[in-house]
Structure formats: structure tokens, C-alpha cells
């Protein structure tokens, strides 16, 4: 089983002997009930990832892709969806350098974090998940694999890496520039 992005970040932090505290659960003030948070979760390359729920506008099936010349491997191409041209991001390739299979009709979550709107290819759509605030911790304080992370959710099925779109785009840009 490959290391997930969270495993990698944790391992890096341990290697560096970082004194950063563990992502402690947030405890609401006595008598104040914090509302649960909503996320949209997908499975990619054996890991679980999520975006803030309000960023995911719909789930679509990929149409025929138009490949883009000079595009990095994680930018698979574009396709038209209801007259709109959407770029397709292979999250597995970007995060873990493991290409996701692009079978016909594969599903993707459309993430809209202004100004970006992108179809994120996934192996499996988990969909909306409701998370008690106490289960949301800060991202591990590590470089490298953790650079995309906004937070980490611990639920009954394990950890979920919450991705921050501006960081994803920023790192994607850096990796797309030829050496």
C-alpha cells in the first residue's frame, strides 16, 4: 500500500524531529456547540482527499479529452461539459506522481475555487461527508507532501487530507515549469 500524502507528511515531520504539536482536536467552549463541517471526499491512488463542500459544484462523467500540448502529466486535457470547457486534473499524478487510469466515463468532481474551475479526476467519489469539528486537525507542519494540505480529518475510516485549491495550483505551476 503506497504511503498517503498524510503518511508522507507525518514521516517527514518525524524525520526532522519537529517539535510541532500534534493536530489536536478543537474543543469548543463550554456550552457552545460548533456546527459540523461539510466536505466533499474522493479517493485517489489509495488515499482519501477532500475539498470544502461548497467548492464542489457537481460530479461529471468525463467526455472525450482534448490533450494540451506542453501540458504537464497531471493536466490531462480539457473536455466540454454543457458548453463549458473544463480542464481535467489528475490529482494522483500531481500529489503522488501516480497516474490515475482515465477510462471512458470516469467520474470527476468539479471544483470551483475562484478563479479556478477544474474537474478533479478520482478513482472513487465518496461524496459529501459531515465532520464534527473536533475531528478536524491542522495540517502537519511539514514541507513537501503536506504543501497542499489545509487540514486533516480523522473519521471512522481513517484520515482524509483536506486540500486547499490555491496551494494545489501554486505547486502545480511550480512543477509545470521545465527545469
Amino acid at each position: 500500500m503506497p504511503l498517503s500524502i498524510i503518511d508522507r507528511a507525518m514521516a517527514m515531520r518525524e524525520e526532522r524531529g519537529s517539535g510541532a504539536p500534534d493536530p489536536a482536536p478543537r474543543v469548543p467552549a463550554a456550552g457552545v456547540a460548533e456546527p459540523d463541517a461539510w466536505y466533499f471526499a474522493v479517493r485517489v491512488a489509495g488515499g482519501r482527499y477532500a475539498f470544502a463542500a461548497h467548492l464542489v459544484t457537481e460530479v461529471v462523467r468525463l467526455g472525450p479529452l482534448t490533450r494540451l500540448p506542453s501540458a504537464p502529466p497531471f493536466l490531462l486535457g480539457v473536455f466540454t461539459h454543457r458548453g463549458e470547457i473544463l480542464p481535467v486534473l489528475d490529482l494522483g499524478e500531481l500529489l503522488l506522481r501516480r497516474a490515475s487510469p482515465t477510462r471512458p466515463g470516469a467520474r470527476a468532481a468539479v471544483v470551483h475555487a475562484d478563479p479556478w474551475r477544474v474537474a478533479v479526476l478520482s478513482d472513487e467519489i465518496e461524496g459529501l461527508i459531515r465532520v464534527p469539528r473536533r475531528r478536524i486537525g491542522p495540517a502537519p507542519a511539514a514541507q513537501g507532501a503536506a504543501e497542499f494540505l489545509q487540514a486533516v480529518i480523522a473519521d471512522d475510516m481513517g484520515d482524509i487530507a483536506v486540500l486547499e485549491m490555491p496551494r494545489v495550483v501554486s505547486v502545480a505551476r511550480t512543477r509545470s515549469v521545465p527545469a
Partner: protein, 137 residues
């Protein structure tokens, strides 16, 4: 550009079909370029397989010929069938020469900014990241 449509030249590089605004093309030539330095073979679009044709483009120093595998023809495309490159793609692609898409027979076809393609193809001016201030088509 006139009456709400644009004239495009459709051409092929390798297996891919691209489009360019016809007004950017001075003429269509064979691949036999009088001066080798005028030819632009390796671009962000890739390298042509056979380079049987050339798109002659104006450049500050004269003319440059973008070598392509074939010219498929001209086509008038309504303005409504043009879309800019999605911001995510334009932020990530290491070239500014991809101006957007023309929807041709329901297929998004890349519209190439030939002057920019030529400029990027000049020695010492390899394709770099887009400028933040670039206007989208």
C-alpha cells in the same frame, strides 16, 4: 474578423489539429524555407513529423515560418464558438501561445497565437511560465 465571425486556418502538427487566426498568417508555404533561420520547427505544439507545409508569420526581424505537417483549410467560426483557455490551464501551461478554443463540430480545437508561438520559439526565448498580467482571449 467580420460580421461576428473569425476566419481560422486549420493545421496539423503530429496527430493534433490546431487553429490560428488567418489574419496572422501572411501565406502558406512549402517547408522549403529560403533561409534556415526563418524556420521554426520545435514549438510548444511539438515537432512536426514531416513538416510538409509552413505558416509564414510576420516577425520584428522579417518573417518566420512555422513548420507544420499539413494545412487542412480555412473556416469561418462565429465569435460565439470561441472560448478562452480555462484559467487553471493558462496558469499551469508553460506557454502563452495557446489562446483558447474554437468549438468545431462540437470538438474543442486549440487556437494558437502564432506571433507568440514564434516569439517563444526564438533562440534563447524558450517557453516560460505565463505572465500574471496576460489577458485571456
Amino acid at each position: 474578423m467580420s460580421d461576428g465571425s473569425r476566419q481560422l486556418v486549420l493545421f496539423q502538427v503530429g496527430a493534433r489539429v490546431f487553429a490560428a487566426v488567418a489574419a496572422d498568417v501572411r501565406r502558406i508555404a512549402g517547408s522549403l524555407v529560403e533561409r534556415e533561420e526563418e524556420a521554426v520547427a520545435e514549438t510548444a505544439l511539438g515537432r512536426p513529423w514531416d513538416a510538409r507545409r509552413g505558416l509564414v508569420v510576420g516577425a520584428p526581424e522579417g518573417e518566420r515560418t512555422v513548420l507544420v505537417d499539413g494545412v487542412l483549410g480555412l473556416r469561418a467560426v462565429p465569435d460565439s464558438e470561441f472560448q478562452s483557455l480555462p484559467r487553471f490551464a493558462s496558469d499551469i501551461l508553460p506557454t502563452a501561445a495557446l489562446a483558447g478554443f474554437a468549438i468545431l463540430d462540437e470538438v474543442p480545437t486549440l487556437v494558437v497565437d502564432l506571433p507568440t508561438l514564434v516569439r517563444e520559439g526564438e533562440p534563447g526565448r524558450g517557453a516560460g511560465p505565463r505572465e500574471e498580467t496576460r489577458h485571456h482571449a
